[in-house]
Amino acid sequence: MDETESPAPNRAAADAAPAPVSAEALRLAEAAIFAAAQPVSTRSLANLLPDGADPEQVMAALAATYAARGVNLVQVGGGWQFRTAPDVAPALRKIVEVPRRLPRVAMETLAIIAYHQPVTRTEIEEIRGAALSQNTLDLLLENGLVTPKGHKEAPGRPTLWGTTPGFLAQFGLNDLRDLPKREELLIDPNVSLSPPERPAEDAAS
């Protein structure tokens, strides 16, 4: 690395004394760092550069060239790498919306709440004929589709659930009455239109 001070005798083009970095060395270093999949160490650069070129000087010159550009030369992980200039990065940020579907269980639960609100968790389970997991309820809550609507005056005072204004917005409804009536929907005579009979416990209250 000291050789730059005293012009190397084997160098073809004996440059001027202050040894400005040669365009050729700059081009090689630039291309190597650009193409490499990893940060390029100064030692690797030394192997690549023409004899007599000081990697430190080359990198300093290259970093200066890129200092004001949209891409900067930075030292990371023991080597050199090009990185997008920090102030430009936000402009390149692209947000891709990938909307999620609700799982079937959540959709069914939501539909039952929409049609039967205010409704207790036990009632939802009876209508669906299956247990309702806390996860499903949490999912609907997190997405702002349902909300507690007080308590049922029954033993244990279970929470009553109903839909939110967010539910209407999500489904493009002005009003809950915009939903088709249950009677219009359930045309299969085998499907009972009223919620199943309450068990004795509820009936007792």
């Binding site: 291309a31 650009f34 193409a35 490499a36 999949a37 990893q38 790498q81 090009f82 990185r83 997008t84 990065a89 390149l92 940020r93 692209k94 947000i95 891709v96 919306e97 990938v98 909307p99 999620r100 579907r101 609700l102 079937r104 959709m107 069914e108 639960t109 939501l110 539909a111 039952i112 929409a114 049609y115 009876e126 209508i127 669906r128 004929g129 299956a130 997405n143 999500q170 489904f171 493009g172 409804l173 939903l179 088709p180 929907l185 359930l186 299969d188 085998n190 499907v191 009972s192 199943p196 009979e197 068990p199 004795a200 416990e201 009936a203 007792a204 209250s205």
Partner: protein
Amino acid sequence: MKSCILRGIAVDSEALVLNLEGFEGPLDLLLELARTQKVDLTKISILALVDQYLAVIEGARRVRLELAADWLVMAAWLTWLKSRLLVPAAPEDEDAEIAAETLAARLIDLQRVRAAAIWLGQRPLLGVDVFARGTPEDFTETDRSKLRVDISGLLSAYLAARRRGGAKLQYRPKPMVYFSVQNALERLQRLVGSQPDWSTLDGFLPQGLGEGLPRRAALSATLVAGLEMTKGGRLELKQDATFGPILVRAIEREAAATNLEDQDGRD
């Protein structure tokens, strides 16, 4: 690749015979032979080409080289073509002319493919002659906060839920929740102190049971609970006549304690 090495050297039938397997098939060989005529491919002599090809095949047979069928099929076809081209003014003459032109056209096509492949091969190839950025940066962010739902999905989910719920009800008797012994114990413990004198067990049943199974179940549960508490020395039970009303009375605390000792002695 053998064919590549071969392609540079002057054609010698014997050499070709020995290197036949270096060719990609009869058409490949024909093109190589045509090139030896050193004329524009549009002006090649088909007759000369046929002779060259047949000579190579003959040579191959002489050295007992196993030949794939397509080499022989081409040889047979070329023999036919040659005979037709040689017979002057035969009725099939035109067919042969067309066949010869088709063959020449196919050779030109193949030559163009070669030229195109070479042109492509001379392009600066990404990853070999030129390199793209080794570490692309991805500024794409995925926003999965939005929901993809619609009314029809909501309605079909509702129908599915109701259908399933309905189906369960049809096939399974309604689950009856009876007043349990546990319930009866809690109720009896809570209420029995408020009645200092004998009172009927029926009086401790919960309200609104109606008649029938739920009531009978509640009565048995309460009786079992009463017996349990009697055993524990907290209650006295008596029935004056068979099927008569069952009477119940709380035992005072001190008495309860003595009773408990007696009970332990009995057990």
